[in-house]
Symmetry: D2
Subunit: 309 residues, 4 copies
């Protein structure tokens, strides 16, 4: 079962919007701290072609950690599973997304999975290309294909703000460089990673990417298979086991769908064989997820029996 | 799609059996170290009533960690989610199942989830009853209902062997007792927990329990709903995020079904709306899972497109 | 230089006593939580035979962690350094005295040093004797020799209270039993360890033991060498590097003498070639040391240039 | 008691030199990996003015971690204890010198002590001056005063080699920058820290610096007090509690003198009121200390009763 019309969706959004007041805007990335805390919007692409939305679904926001799934798909397409997973693990972790301690105690010094920052940096480091520009072009072209929007780009103000304050990511990179998880120039990698996090789009575009994953890697309109079915499945698996930061387990229990969040307040959902979802709600809970976005998904999952379990 | 006949299943078992030689029998529970390393058997209950098997599917083995899912269901039925999850978390962890370090560093001193030993002990501590005997009767009656077998019982030789060597579990219990995660007598709790781990059945019974979870909590034959749909879903969620010890993430990626393993070499699978699975293969990999059992599930998941992702 | 008369000492004690109000009584051992928070007393045995005191120096208190140095001396005398240090390390640690995490991450699973609980339990486990009674007799006889007081004994009320609530120590023991750092019966070991912690004496007796360590192991009055010079030196070394719980480093910097504290509020000092010190002040700081006792030692160390550095 | 003549010293050096074969040269700083593994030399300045030596005591080597004590003294002279210890702790740690995990788990995110890399970087960051050049001039002038040698300088080949491969130190710096333990430009700090580690001198110079610390901060020849008595004491205290990397506890027990080692194979000793010691022996043990240098000090400490405990 699924959402039937925009009115129904608008009602659910209003029900969830009251939770925005219990969260707060991200504080460690200056350029993101100026959003409107009570914002909440959603877009849904059903695989049968229907499109629903509620709230200001054309407002742009940056992907932040949501981009981790996209680069993972790109790099898996290019290098294959065995090379990628020689550099990054597959296991969920109870530690925060920016933790460094496990890198030290883990005998392999390998990041536990591609959804924590250390793992995502190792994945971005594998994007093909001879320099940052080539790699960036490869990535943004891939995003343009997924969204069917050649205008998609990165928000330079956010990019600059993040690059200058990315001290923890620098620490993670240099640690991994010491242990040969990554090679090459750290500042170049950080530059690329920050651009990736600053890719900007609206809920509709995000729902469209979600729909590609939900549809086994193929575009709904063109029918073109941008990602293989196996890699789409791998990405959805990581979205379930570690897509929602430190509350991935709770989210799996309460909502039960593949989803990935970012500290901008975005959430991309991909319900296998059903629909793609894009949400934007910048008021965050303590683990860094959109507080009202989570609530909205919880309400909808109960109502529409979305859980895959 | 699913398995069609016993011949097909027997061929897949033979293909997987060769992997038994790369694993080893559990060494820290003396009574379990005398199994036949090359054993591998499987039973499948399809929700349409079909039953398939291969190997010695009537050979009995003890549940060990598989019992964690069963007590979780029992305790959730009795206490409800909010009480249970005030004592144990919902998040997967990158640490081993018997680790104690996270209990100390976690500011709540609460076990991360009910599938690691610390969490399972906290769950068993909530089984209703005024003493060990009452609690045990409650549990074994529940298992009898799930298997539709009133003869089901615990293996006293294994129970005795485990109880005497359960030093790490004692350490976990006393640590949690200090931090008020559990109350009551530790030796009594360990006695109950060891009995629970020593519950003995064969692959057919185990597949039957898996089928109840797969069938939203209801018995295939009698139609009786033993577990609510919501609690069946919660249990399946934990089986995906943390059911296969430290390789739960890899299992989710390669197989993608709710499953729970035990160091006896048993695996219970529960594919939503499809089937229940019982496997026995005592040769274990490094993380404590049946090495050939995993391989068999991997082969079947690819062949029958079982992944829920 | 050193203290000259009781009046001078009484003045210093009054100066330090005001700090008792900033601390608090130990709360996790019920029998110790009923002391008088403003108590502060001291005894000093100079190696030239002079004896000074201030405050109620005859009031009895239990040794608690101070006993760790005494059992270390006893066991080193009996087993020798190489056997003892095969079971317990020599390195200070930044972790709390009752921490278990390092036991897990340390590849040897060996306690870091004999002054943390895990290490002290491993040392007590090496006291010679066929059963708890023989071991206890060995230990209390040794303490009687050090204090020259055959009446010294343990406080049974404190012993009982501690034994019943020693959950963390039980956790440490079972963890070490699993990893073969200790063998034998855990409850017996805990019984012996709790008795050891509950040995009761006054400041004068404690100063006398300190004087034996300060005097290279020999009794001031009888001249008998109870401990070898080498072992006395080893014990004083541990008192400096890890004698004052998690503020051992700060204490070395601010006071700079071998000393060992207990959560009863006792402190034993042993200034090489100078004097033995016994202090009792049950108001504790956050790390578990007598708050006014530390202050008193700091004042005296500055005034009399006691630091060995 | 102390060494009487060069012949005696030469014999002890030969006795210790055989241990050089059990160690190995440092491997992670390319420029240091080309030393002669069997080298071992020593210089001793007695506070009465006597000077003894054995081996090639004029051969130059870089200070590496030995420099940590010198910058600590300089910064304590300039800022005072309370400012310095608001940025870095005083407690020994059981973790390796380059560990980052404790920075994360420690609630204050403050390095545990000034002898581990994180703490030393925080100390170097406090050297007074408006830019790297001014800070460096301040430091090298201080070293020139301590050695009474205006020619002392840094080895630019080593400096360059270390700067380029200082990935772990970069990780530590960026982590501390995130948590506001340090401010300013990380690359500038690393440049200064690497210069400091690359300061080059011979055993005689090093023994001279040791003698200043042993002599309460005052130069033996000129009588000038370069460091206050209190700060000299603080430095010697840290040399005992955490001067010898992860075997500081063992060194305190077996040798028992204030000493600081570097991965170049240098060791500076400072026996209060007795003598300063400079040792060079580039073959290292597993914890990063000169393997034969340690043995030489152990032999001498036993022979001359050097232990301060």
């Amino acid at each position: 079962m699924n959402c039937k019309n925009n009115e129904e969706l608008a009602n659910l959004v209003e029900e969830a919007r009251v939770y925005t007041k219990y969260g707060k805007l991200v504080d460690y990335i200056p350029a993101l701290s100026r959003e409107n805390k009570s914002d909440l919007s959603i877009s849904i692409y059903n695989l049968n072609g229907e499109f629903f939305y509620a709230g200001d679904y054309l407002k742009k926001f940056t992907l932040q950690s949501i981009s981790k799934v996209i680069t993972l798909a790109l790099v898996l397409m290019d290098k294959g599973e065995s090379e990628v997973f020689s550099k990054v693990g597959m296991e969920p972790t109870g530690d925060p997304f920016n933790s460094i301690a496990k890198l030290e105690s883990n005998r392999l010094n390998k990041p536990l999975n591609p959804m924590i920052n250390a793992g995502a940096l190792a994945v971005t480091n594998m994007i093909p290309g001879r320099n940052v520009e080539e790699k960036w072009n490869k990535l943004i072209h891939f995003v343009a294909e997924l969204t069917n929007d050649n205008e998609v780009s990165c928000n330079q103000r956010v990019e600059k703000s993040e690059f200058e304050t990315a001290f923890l990511n620098r620490a993670l990179c240099y640690f991994m460089k010491q242990h040969k998880v990554i090679d090459g120039d750290v500042e170049e990698l950080l530059s690329l990673y920050t651009k990736q996090c600053s890719i900007e789009m609206n809920c509709r575009d995000l729902a469209r990417i979600g729909a590609v994953f939900a549809n086994d890697g193929c575009d709904l309109e063109t029918g073109k298979c941008i990602i293989t079915k196996d890699i789409a499945r791998v990405c959805k698996t990581f979205m379930v086991t570690c897509g929602m930061y430190n509350s991935s387990g709770e989210f799996a229990m309460k909502v039960g769908i593949p989803a990935k969040s970012g500290v901008s307040g975005g959430i991309m959902g991909a319900i296998p064989q059903k629909c793609g979802i894009g949400i934007f709600g910048p008021s965050l809970d303590q683990t860094g997820n959109s507080i009202a976005g989570l609530k909205l998904l919880e309400i909808m999952s109960k109502r529409y029996s979305w859980s895959i379990f």
